[in-house]
Structure formats: C-alpha cells, structure tokens
C-alpha cells in the first residue's frame, strides 16, 4: 500500500518536472503552478480538517495572511522576498496558533462558524482600509494607498527574482519549480504527520474517542500543534502566490476563493491522502475547460460542492478506494473459486 | 389457535456488521403480558427498537395482526398501535409534565379524547397531577418513569412495550411501578415487557422469554422458570 503510494508519487513528480518541456503553452505552465499553490493550501487544510478533524474554515485567511505579510515586508521593509517567506510562514503560524487557541475548547461546529467570522472580519478590515498610509506618502500623495492597499490591492513589493537569473522568457520556469518544490515539501510533511505519533493519535481519536482519551491522548495539544504547523506551509504558499503575481488583494480572503478551495477538498475527498492533489487537479482542469462560461463558475462550483456532499461525501479518492476495494474482493473471490 | 397480535419471525439485527439479534422469534397474543428477560447488553432493547421502528432489522419479519411492520418508520408504527415506553424515559426535558402528556396524545386518533384520558391517567398516577406545570427535567427518577408510562398510555394503541421499568429506581418505587403494570394487565392491556430482574415478573408474566447474546435460549411460564434450577443458575445468577 505505502509502496504503491510512493511509486505514484514518483511518477507524478517526474511528470510535473518534465511538464514545461513537453511543448505546452505558457499559460498552461502558469495554470499548473497555481494548481501547485492551491494543492499546497488544500493539503494543509486536509491535515487540519480531514486528519485532525478540526472543521476550520480559516485556511484561506491564513493563506491571505501569508500573502499580505510577504507583500507588506517586501514593500515597506524592502526585504528580499526570499527572507520574507519564512517570516510570513512564522507569522501565519502565530496567527493560526491564536485562532486555534480561541477555538480549542469549542465543538466542531462552533469552530467552523468562528473561523468563518474571522475570515470575514479580515475581509472587511482590508476592504474598508482606505486611509492613506504615511508609509506610502513618499510615492505620490495623489495616488497614495492605505497600508494594506484596501479594495484596490497592494503591489510593488518584488517577486521571486527569477527574471534576473533566468531572463525575461524563462522566469516562469523558476516560479513553476519553486511552487512545485513547495508542494512536494507540503505533501511530504502531510504524509509524515499522518504516519507520525500525532497522526496515529488522531486516528485513534476518530476510531474510538473514549478509549483514546482514557489512554491519555490529549486532543487539545495535538490539535494545536497541527493547527499551527499546517499554517506555516499555508502562509508560505500565500507568500509564493503574492510573489508570483506581484500583487495581493482582498479577493484572497473573499468567499469565492474559499468556495474554490473547499470544492477541491470536497471533490478530492476530505481526509484522503490523495484527495487534495486530485481535487486541485480536477477543479483547475474544469476551470480551464469551462473558461468560456466563467460567469457560471461560482454557480457551477456551488452545485458541485452540494452534489458531492450529497452523493459522494468521500470525494473522488473515496470513490476510487471503494471501487478498488470491491474489485480486490471480487478478484480474490474469483481466484479462490478457480483454485477450488 | 388465534393469530397473535404481534408476531416476530426469525429477526436479525445489528449495528455496523455486529449481530445483536440472531434469529429471534416471539409471539405476543392479545391481552397477554409477555416478558423478555436477560442480562443487559444482550439485545433486549434492540429488539424493542426494531419493533418500534427506531431501528431497521437486517432480516426476518415483524407482523402486527398479520400485517408486516418491519422497516416502517417509528411514527407509522405507533400510529398502527405499537407503543414503546423507552429505556431511560426519553422525556421532553424542557416541557412541562402536562405538555409531555399532551405529546403522548399527539396522534389524531387520541388527540380528541385527551382531556378525558388525561384525567384517567391522573387517577392511575396521582403524583403527576401534583406536578403538571413542572418541567420534566426537574422530576425525580420515579416521577420521570411515571410520566413516561403516563405519556405512553395516552398514545392508546393495541400493544404496550415497556423497556426496563425498574432500571435505576429505588425498591419502593419499583413496587409502585409494578403495581401500575399489574393493574394495566388486569385491565386487559397487551404488554411486552423487558426486564433484567426475574423476581418482579415471575408471577406476573404469561410467558417469559430468556434472551442471551441475541438469542432466545428458553421460553416458558413463570412457574416453569422457577422450577428450572439450571436455567435460573446459568442465566439469572440463581
């Protein structure tokens, strides 16, 4: 089983590395790297929601927090973004730690509502931030923007810097491989956590909460660890996103992005190891195919989420698992019959 | 022999693949008091839940006066006349005693006669009358049991199922509860009673079924049970 996963991982990685050299159009490379970014976020979300069982909707807020931290550090402190990323990751961790602390004693449903409210507050605060910030006055008083850029968004904080290294045409390859590296780290981290003591503790809690508790498995401690740890890579992904686009905006905390990411989680399969990757791939592909119908996008996404929750709550990964389990059972039954 | 009011044929049931009931068959004739005896966790409550429609059996048949009721929704089963007084009472804690009784008479067929019937309940269970406006969650254990019984009686019906009426009560209260059950039997009610404690029902029951690990291992009258030393020792600890 684990062997099989490793082989699949190696094959996928090889394809991803070779992808830009397969004569694909440039915009597909760009789409793929955004997919890596979202897959990173969703894999960390899956860790929190699917593995640790905390129904947090703050993941998008943490992502945005990382992006904004990177942007602010790059713009106001003139920090090279490569230094800004880890700081953004740590800032995201601290942010998430406090969110987790607030949610710690609450039931699952309360956590969902509160994290949703936190995201909304972030959105409102950014959206309504319109007063000219003294930090921006030096540019041009007439076009002076607020600290976070408000509704217009914030730019001018630099990029990965691949343009200087790889030149005006190939810089996107730099972005591509950087994002891929982040995703690989995220997937390895997720797998490591799932196999670790912490992952086993959560599995025990899911299977038999009372027994696990009586053996001294402390939910709170582990939940807080996962909450904070998963935030690091999520916020980093936010930083990478900001670096790639060279701008951040309040759309990073708005509901449409939350809907898009939750669709990935749901379609892939909540709590399934391959779910985030599968979900991110399927939805980015669908987004690409249905580009002409983009004004139907959110209608379609909403309906997809609804239909999956009703008919396939375990997602595509869950469906594949169920089918392959049935196939194996059938196969062994057939073999037994033929040998008998 | 006349067809029994309630007949259970080869019933199987379980939770998530674990078999709790295995091939249970049981008849409840009109006007009889039939008991199901056995230690806790051996499927007695599961059987009553299956009959009441709170759980779906995985095999077998349940018939009320010749009509299949297995797999029917609980709200349908009670309308057909099978009333369950559940274990742990399952009262409506934030409603008054009176409103709890009123919920018992929710079905249209009993709703109209509620105001007369509730007076009868008050004569059988006078304690309830003293507490009509009190919230159910503030009652004592014995009062709660009485309210559950009163509420069940108000549902009318043709057969009354009572799940462990003595559970968790003081001996003196158990005596009171069993007096009420004896009176119900005398008035001709058909009753299916689940008990853990043999001594209370041995003289009362028309027929006793012994349920052990999901199977009926013995059935007979009270006297037969009393004279069957082996059964008594094996299953009921002497």
């Amino acid at each position: 089983m684990k062997y099989r996963d490793l082989i699949i991982f190696a094959i996928l990685l090889a394809i991803a590395i070779a992808f830009p050299w397969m004569g694909v159009k440039r915009y597909l490379i760009a789409s793929a790297l955004i997919m890596f970014c979202y897959a990173t976020v969703v894999s960390q979300w899956n860790l929190v929601f699917g593995i640790a069982g905390i129904f947090s909707l703050a993941q998008v807020a943490i992502f945005a927090f990382g992006a904004y931290t990177t942007a602010v550090l790059g713009r106001y402190m003139d920090l090279t973004l490569w230094y800004a990323f880890p700081i953004a990751g740590l800032a995201g961790m601290v942010f998430s730690f406090f969110v987790g602390l607030a949610c710690l004693r609450m039931r699952g449903i309360y956590v969902a509502l509160l994290t949703l409210a936190i995201s909304q507050v972030m959105f409102v605060l950014i959206q309504t931030d319109s007063a000219c910030s003294p930090l921006n006055q030096r540019d041009n008083p007439a076009t002076c923007v607020s600290f976070t850029g408000g509704a217009q968004g914030l730019g001018g904080f630099g990029s990965f810097g691949w343009r200087d290294v790889l030149g005006g045409r190939n810089w996107i390859l730099g972005d591509y491989y950087t994002m891929l590296a982040l995703l690989v780290v995220a997937l390895i981290f997720t797998a490591a956590v799932t196999q670790s003591r912490i992952g086993l503790a959560f599995k025990a809690l899911r299977d038999n909460e009372e027994l696990a508790r009586s053996r001294g498995v402390s939910v709170f401690k582990y939940q807080l660890i996962v909450f904070a740890a998963s935030a690091f890579l999520t916020a980093m992904a936010g930083g990478f996103y900001a670096a790639h686009f060279g701008a951040v905006g309040s759309n990073l905390v708005a509901f449409p992005l939350l809907l898009f990411l939750i669709s990935m989680l749901v379609v892939g399969g909540i709590g399934k190891a391959w779910g985030p990757l599968l979900g991110a791939f399927l939805l980015m592909a669908a987004d690409e195919v249905f580009k002409e119908f983009s004004d139907w996008r959110n209608i379609g996404l909403g309906m997809i989420v609804l239909v999956f929750m009703i008919f396939l709550p375990e997602g595509v990964a869950g469906a594949i698992e169920a089918v392959s389990k049935r196939a194996t059972r059938l196969w062994t039954a057939l073999r037994r019959r033929s040998s008998a | 022999m006349a067809e029994p009011l309630l007949a259970i044929h080869n019933l199987h049931a379980g939770y998530e693949g674990q078999n709790v009931l295995k091939d249970v068959s049981l008849d409840v004739p009109e006007g009889a008091l039939i008991t199901l005896l056995g230690p806790n966790g051996h499927g007695k409550t599961t059987l009553l839940k299956c009959i009441a429609g709170l759980m779906k059996p995985s095999g077998g048949r349940i018939e009320l006066a010749g009509r299949r009721i297995d797999g029917a929704e609980a709200e349908r089963v009670v309308d057909l006349g099978v009333v369950l007084i559940p274990q742990g009472d399952m009262l409506f804690p934030e409603m008054s005693v009176y409103d709890n009784l009123k919920m018992g008479a929710y079905l249209p067929r009993v709703r109209k006669t509620f105001s007369e019937e509730v007076e009868k309940i008050y004569t059988i269970l006078p304690r309830l009358k003293e507490r009509t406006t009190q919230l159910a969650r503030t009652l004592s254990g014995g009062e709660r049991r009485m309210l559950a019984i009163g509420r069940g009686l108000l549902s009318g019906g043709r057969i009354l199922m009572i799940d462990e009426p003595s559970l968790g009560l003081a001996p003196i209260v158990i005596d009171q509860i069993y007096e009420i059950i004896t009176d119900l039997k005398a008035s001709g009610r058909t009753i299916l009673l689940v008990e853990e404690n043999a001594s209370r029902i041995i003289d009362l029951a028309d027929r006793i079924h012994l349920l052990d690990t999901g199977q009926i291992v013995w059935a007979g009258g009270g006297e037969e049970l009393q004279s069957n030393q082996q059964i008594l020792e094996t299953y009921l600890g002497g």
């Binding site: 607030a102 309360y110 605060l125 989420v305 929750m309 | 409603m95």
Partner: protein
Amino acid sequence: MNFFIQIIVSGLTFGAMYALAALGLALVWGAFNMLNMAHGIIMTLGAYYALLWAEIWGLPLFFAAPFAAICGGGFGVLVYFISAHWMLRQRNFEVTIIIATFGLGMAAEAGLLKFLREEFRTAPYSQPLSLGADSFLVGDVPVSYQRIVVWAVALVLIMLVGLFLTRTNAGRAIRATAQSRDAARLMGIPVKRVYVMVLALASGLAAISGIMLSSFKDVHPLMGGDPLLKAFIVIVLAGLGNITGALYAALLVGMVEATVKVLVADKYGFTAILVLVIAALIWRPAGLFGQRVVARQ
C-alpha cells in the same frame, strides 16, 4: 446623551433584525442539527421579492412583505429537498450539511449576481435621519417612524413564533423534536415533516429580516452574507439551540455593534462583535446563558 440615544436606536434596529435571522437559524439547528449556510441568501431573496413585488405590482411594502415571507419560506422548503433530505443519514451530518448548504448558498448568490445584476437598489426604503414628517425627536436625535415599525414587526413576529411554539400542536411537535428526536418519533410525530416545517418557518423569518435590512442597506445580491455571519455569531453566543437566549444575544450583539459604530468607526463593528464572541466562548464555551443546553437532551 445624544450618543447614548443614537446607540440605543440603531442597536435596537440591528438587534431586531439579527433576532429574526438568528431565531430561524436556532430553530433549524434545534430541530435537526442543521446549520443552514443558505440562510443568508434567503434574506437577500426576501428583500428582492418584496422589492420586486412592490415595484411590479405596485403593492405597498406592507402587503408585499407577507408575500415575500411566503416565497422565502418556499425557498426554505426547496433548500430542504435539494440538500438536507438526502443527507439525514450521513454519519457526519452536522459538518457535511454546512459544506453542502455553503455550496448551495454560493451557487444561489452567484446566480443572483448573474441574473439580477441590474436590479440593484440603493437602500430603497431608507429615510433621511433628519427631522420631518416621518420622524420625531428623542432628546436631540431624530427617530424615524420606520424604525418603530421595524421594532414592532420584530416584536410581534417573535411573540407569534413564541405562541406558535408553545400553544399549537405543530409548534409543540417542533419543540419535542428538538428536545428528543427519537421520543418525538415514538409519539407519532413525523419528524421529517417537522424539519420541512421548521425550515419554512425559519426562511420566512429570514425573508422578513432581509426586508428589514433593506430599510437601511442597499438591496444587492451579496447583502445577506454579512448579517448571516452575525446571526451565526448570535446563536453561538447564546449557545446553539438556545432559542430565547438567541433573542437576548441578538439584542446584545446589536447594541455592541451600534456602540462601536457610533463611538469608534463603522468598520470596526464586526470586529468588536467577533472579539466579544471569542472572549465569551473562552470564558463560557457552552454559550452566554449557562451550561444548560435548552433544546437538546
């Protein structure tokens, strides 16, 4: 002193609106542990229905509002049959229904944005906060009669819902289902019909709440999102399923929001509420009104 009156006036208005929205959410949660994320879109729809009816048929708002409530209730029934009805047996219903209705709500919202983009009204019923024939003075603060109507409608509706829940068979069936679902079924209460009824009632109230909202906010496809989150905060603050508590919490949230808006700045209203609810929950995880879980066993 004027500040004080201003806070009370707008606090009561917010409170009345949140109370109606939260009442519906709390009832639905109580009946079958469903947190309806599509509740906000029903508020939006209510405002639109009233607006369109009032404009198309030339009805006065007073007559258009009940129609809008009925349409909102109908949409609630629709929500039940396209989401919850198929999911009742899921093991993780509490969580999956949130995601499902979130998807449904987003789809409906996007649909409204697509098809009703042109139908945008800037606070269609709002009245100037200056002294005129439509208002009177309390201290130095002008209070419009419209506010009085909003409060009165909310109060009357809440009282009617209270009477319905305690005095009618249908209402008692709703409470019984909330307090013990299996026991309710044993009494012969068709619980699925109760679920539909509760969603219809809650959605009707949401529609009215949406109309109230349009008395001082723009009618816009996204208008329901913000009050929905506040209504959620209200029921979390009260303790999920605590219906009377939700009414007090709605008033509290309305007052806190008004205070911050009047004394600090408009945009910090939501932040203040959030800080309040987090603080309250750390201090009292089961809600402000004690450990007693009112609607559940």
